[in-house]
C-alpha cells in the first residue's frame, strides 16, 4: 500500500542525495518525492510517497533518523491530512476540439494555462485520485506530455502524523 511521510530536513547541500541514497541502499521504493522550502529558511520539507508494507514504513522512518540532517519524520498515512498533487498535461487539441477539453477541465476545476495551434496545457491540482480521473478522460483525446509534482501533504489543524520509533531524535511519544 501507499505510505506518505512528511520529512523535515536541514536546508543544506547534499541532503536530497542522502535521502535518495538511503532509499536505494535499503531497497525501499519511492513513488514520489517532493522537496521544497518552508516558512523557515533553514528547513526544507519533503513529502515522500512510497509503495510499501507497514513495517517498511517504520524502517524508513528509523533509517531516515540515521541521517544527521533529518529533523523530523511523520507518517501521515490514513491520518487527517490534506494532500495535493499538481499536474501539467499537454493535450492534443485542434481549434474545434478545445471546447471539449475546456469542459472537462471545468468539471475538475482544472485550468487551461496555454493554448497552441495543435495543443493546450491543462493545469490540475488535487488529490492523486482526482488527477488520475482527469487523465483517464483526457487519454482518448491524446496526451502529448505530462508532468506531476508528486504529492505535498500537510496535517490538518494541530494534528501530528504517526511517529513509529520512540526515542528517535529525541521524540519520545509514539
Amino acid at each position: 500500500m501507499q505510505h506518505t511521510m512528511i520529512v523535515l530536513v536541514e536546508n543544506k547541500p547534499g541532503v536530497l542525495n542522502r535521502v535518495a541514497s538511503l532509499f536505494r541502499r535499503r531497497n525501499f521504493n519511492i513513488e514520489s518525492l517532493n522537496v521544497g522550502r518552508t516558512e523557515n529558511p533553514a528547513v526544507s520539507r519533503m513529502t515522500i510517497v512510497m509503495d510499501s508494507e507497514a513495517l517498511d514504513a517504520r524502517k524508513v522512518e528509523a533509517n531516515l533518523y540515521k541521517l544527521v540532517n533529518i529533523i523530523d519524520v511523520q507518517d501521515v498515512t490514513n491520518q487527517p491530512v490534506v494532500a495535493r498533487d499538481l499536474a501539467l498535461i499537454k493535450v492534443k487539441a485542434s481549434p474545434e476540439g478545445r471546447a471539449e477539453i475546456a469542459n472537462l477541465a471545468a468539471i475538475f476545476r482544472a485550468k487551461i494555462i496555454d493554448v497552441a495551434p495543435e495543443s493546450v496545457i491543462v493545469e490540475s491540482t488535487g488529490t492523486e485520485d482526482k488527477i488520475e480521473s482527469l487523465l483517464e478522460l483526457l487519454k482518448p483525446i491524446g496526451i502529448l506530455e505530462m508532468v506531476r509534482t508528486g504529492q505535498v501533504a500537510m496535517m490538518r489543524g494541530d494534528a501530528l502524523g504517526v511517529r513509529h520509533t520512540p526515542g528517535a531524535n529525541g521524540h519520545n511519544r509514539i
Binding site: G14, R25, K59, Y65, K66, I70, T165, N169
Partner: protein, 566 residues
C-alpha cells in the same frame, strides 16, 4: 584572529584532545601537513591509507576516544574506504580528513579528483565537503561529536585545497547546532514497565551482550543486572570482554562459531535480553527458527536496529548504560538455579569435545597456540585479530575479562585489520601487552605496515598462524563444496626473512614444544616481534552453524578425536 584553513583544522583537532593522527600526505593535503608542524600532534606515517583507518579504528576501540586518519584526494582517499566501512559496521568512532582539489576544479575531473563524499556516503555516519576556510571549524567540531556520540561511527571531512590555504576568522565554536541529531538517552517509562513484567515472568532468560555494552560504558551495569536477575550472559564477537569470561554466568560467544551450550541456551530461552547488539545473521542463523519460544527485549540506541532482523516484544530505544541503570532499579532479585543447572549440563558436554582435551599428537594446532599466548600473557593482553579461522579460535581460546581487550573486525570481516589495528591500539595503551593474532592470508594484505611498526617502535607482537591456506574459505569448501579447493592455497614468502628485512626479530615455530619459548622470546624482546607458527593445514573451527541454518543445528567437533585422549 585570521588563520589559514589548515591552521584552523589543527586548532580544532587539538581542542578535541587528539594527540596522534595516522595518515599519508599528497598533493591535495599538503597545506594541512605543512601547518601540522606547528602543532603538538604526533603523526604516524602509514604505508597504505587503509592502514591509517585501521590504526585509527584500533586506537578508537582500545581507548574509547576518536581515532583520526588522514589522506590526500583521489587514490589516497579511496584507499581509506575499506577501513571506513569496517569502522561503520562495528560502530567505531573515527574521523577521516581528506584533501580535495580546489573548489573551482570540482566536477571537472581534475588530477587526483574523486567524489569522496559521494563514495563514502553509505559507509559514513556523516560526511562533509568543505569548500571554504570559514566552514572548517564548525565541521570539525560537529564531526568529532557525531563520531563519538549516539551510536558511534566514522565521519569524513573532505577539504578543498583552497579552503586549506585561504584565511578566515577563527573562533572556536563553543556550541554546535544539530537539530536533526539528538541521540536518545532514557527509554520511555511505559516501555520500561513492560520490560520489567517480562523479566519477572521469565524462567529461562539469556542476555545477549553486544558491542554496545562496551561503547556505552555499561559494563558495570551489565554485571549488576545479570547478577541481580541471575541471568546468563551470551556475547557477540564484539561483546566479548563486556562480561568477565570467568564468571559462572558467562556463556561465552554465541553464533556461527559460538560454543554449543551458548547457542542451546539461546534456542531454549524464554526471554532474550538483547543489549546493544543487532541480531546479525552470524549470530542468529535461520531467523524463522531463532529462539522460537523466547520473548525479546531489545535495548538499542539506534532505532533502525529495532525489528530490523528480529521482531521484538519490547524495544527500549536509548543509551544502554542509562536504560540499564533505570531497569536495575525496577527489577526484583531473581533465582534461575534450575535454568543455570540445565545450561551447565550442556556446558560439560561441550567441554568433553573441546580441542584442549585432545590427545597430544605432536601436531601444532591454532587453539593450542592461542591458549598458550593466553597463559603467557595472564589473559591480560590486548588482542587484535584478522579475519577467518584464527579469529574464531582467538575468540574461543583467548577468553577476555575486560572490555576493549579483544579488537576484531566483526561486521565487516575485513582481512588485513589485525596488524594496523594493533599498532593503533599500542598508541592508545602503550603500557599494555599487545598481540596481533593473524592468519597468513590477512597478514599479507597489510604487511606493509611492518615498516610503520618499526618506524614508530610500536611494541606489538605479531603471531602469524600459517597454514598456507585461506583457512576459513578452505573450511567452507571442505564442508559445503565437497573439498573442491578453489584458490585457497597460499605459496607464502619466508615470513622470517620478511621480518628480518624490516629489522624485526622473528622466530618460526613448527612443533608444540617450541611454542612457549617463542612466546617468551616475543615478550622479552622490546618493540615489534614476529612469530610464525606453522600450524596444521586442514583443521576446522568447531562448532559451526552453517550459514542460514538453525542456530542449534551445529556441526560439532568430531567425538572420535576426544576419545583418543583415554
Amino acid at each position: 584572529m585570521k588563520k589559514s584553513g589548515a591552521e584552523i583544522l589543527w586548532e580544532c583537532i587539538i581542542r578535541e584532545g587528539v594527540e596522534v593522527v595516522f595518515g599519508y600526505p599528497g598533493g591535495a593535503n599538503m597545506p594541512i601537513y605543512d601547518a601540522m608542524l606547528s602543532y603538538p600532534v604526533h603523526h604516524v606515517l602509514v604505508r597504505h591509507e587503509q592502514g591509517a583507518t585501521h590504526m585509527a579504528d584500533g586506537y578508537a576501540r582500545a581507548s574509547g576516544k576518536v581515532g583520526v586518519a588522514m589522506a590526500t584526494s583521489g587514490p589516497g582517499a579511496t584507499n581509506l574506504v575499506t577501513g571506513i566501512a569496517t569502522a561503520m559496521m562495528d560502530s567505531s568512532s573515527i574521523v577521516c580528513i581528506t584533501g580535495q582539489v580546489h573548489a573551482h576544479l570540482i566536477g571537472g575531473d581534475a588530477f587526483q579528483e574523486t567524489d569522496v563524499t559521494g563514495i563514502t556516503l553509505p559507509i559514513t555516519k556523516h560526511n562533509y565537503l568543505i569548500t571554504r576556510a570559514d566552514e572548517i571549524a564548525e565541521a570539525v567540531r560537529e564531526a568529532f561529536y557525531i563520531a563519538r556520540s549516539g551510536r558511534p561511527g566514522p565521519v569524513l571531512i573532505d577539504i578543498c585545497k583552497n579552503a586549506q590555504i585561504e584565511k578566515a576568522e577563527f573562533e572556536y565554536p563553543e556550541h554546535i547546532s544539530l537539530p536533526g541529531y539528538r541521540p536518545p538517552a532514557h527509554a520511555p517509562q511505559a516501555d520500561l514497565q513492560r520490560a520489567v513484567e517480562l523479566i519477572a515472568q521469565a524462567e529461562r532468560p539469556v542476555i545477549l551482550a553486544g558491542h554496545g555494552v562496551t561503547i556505552s560504558g555499561a559494563v558495570e551495569e551489565l554485571g549488576m543486572f545479570a547478577v541481580k536477575t541471575h541471568t546468563p550472559v551470551a556475547s557477540t564477537l564484539l561483546g566479548l570482554g563486556s562480561f568477565p569470561a570467568q564468571h559462572p554466568l558467562s556463556l561465552g560467544m554465541m553464533g556461527m562459531h559460538g560454543e554449543a551450550y551458548c547457542n542451546l541456551a539461546i534456542q531454549n530461552s524464554d526471554l532474550l535480553l538483547a543489549f546493544g547488539m543487532r541480531f546479525d545473521d552470524r549470530v542468529t542463523g535461520n531467523l524463522r527458527t531463532y529462539a522460537p519460544r523466547a520473548r525479546k527485549i531489545h535495548i538499542e540506541i539506534d532505532p533502525s536496529e529495532i525489528h530490523k532482523n528480529v521482531t521484538v516484544d519490547v524495544p527500549l530505544v536509548g543509551d544502554l548504560k542509562t536504560v540499564l541503570a533505570d531497569l536495575i532499579a525496577l527489577v526484583d532479585e531473581q533465582d534461575h538455579e534450575a535454568w543455570q543447572a540445565e545450561i551447565d549440563e550442556w556446558r560439560r558436554e561441550s567441554e568433553t569435545r573441546d580441542i584442549q582435551s585432545w590427545a597430544d599428537d605432536g601436531k601444532l594446532y591454532v587453539p593450542h597456540v592461542v591458549r598458550n599466548i593466553w597463559q603467557a600473557t595472564g589473559g591480560k593482553a590486548t588482542i587484535t585479530t584478522d579475519v577467518g579461522q584464527h579469529q574464531m579460535w582467538t575468540a574461543q581460546y583467548y577468553p577476555v575479562d575486560k572490555p576493549r581487550q579483544l579488537i576484531s573486525s566483526g561486521g565487516s570481516g575485513t582481512m588485513g585489520f589485525g596488524l594496523p589495528s594493533a599498532i593503533g591500539a599500542w598508541f592508545a595503551s602503550p603500557d599494555e601487552e599487545i598481540w596481533a593474532i593473524v592468519g597468513d592470508g590477512g597478514f599479507q594484505m597489510t604487511q606493509a605496515e611492518l615498516s610503520t611498526a618499526v618506524q614508530e617502535g610500536a611494541n606489538v607482537k605479531i603471531a602469524i598462524m600459517n597454514n598456507n591456506f585461506l583457512g576459513m574459505v578452505r573450511q567452507w569448501q571442505e564442508f559445503f563444496f565437497e573439498r573442491r579447493y578453489s584458490a585457497v592455497e597460499l605459496h607464502n614468502p619466508d615470513f622470517i626473512k620478511i621480518a628480518e628485512a624490516h629489522g624485526i626479530p622473528a622466530r618460526r615455530v613448527t612443533a608444540p614444544e617450541e611454542v612457549q619459548n617463542a612466546i617468551e622470546f616475543a615478550q622479552q624482546t622490546p618493540g615489534p616481534v614476529l612469530v610464525e607458527f606453522k600450524v596444521e593445514k586442514e583443521e576446522a573451527v568447531y562448532p559451526m552453524v552453517p550459514a542460514g541454518a538453525d542456530l542449534d543445528a551445529m556441526i560439532r567437533r568430531p567425538l572420535r578425536q576426544v576419545q583418543e585422549v583415554g
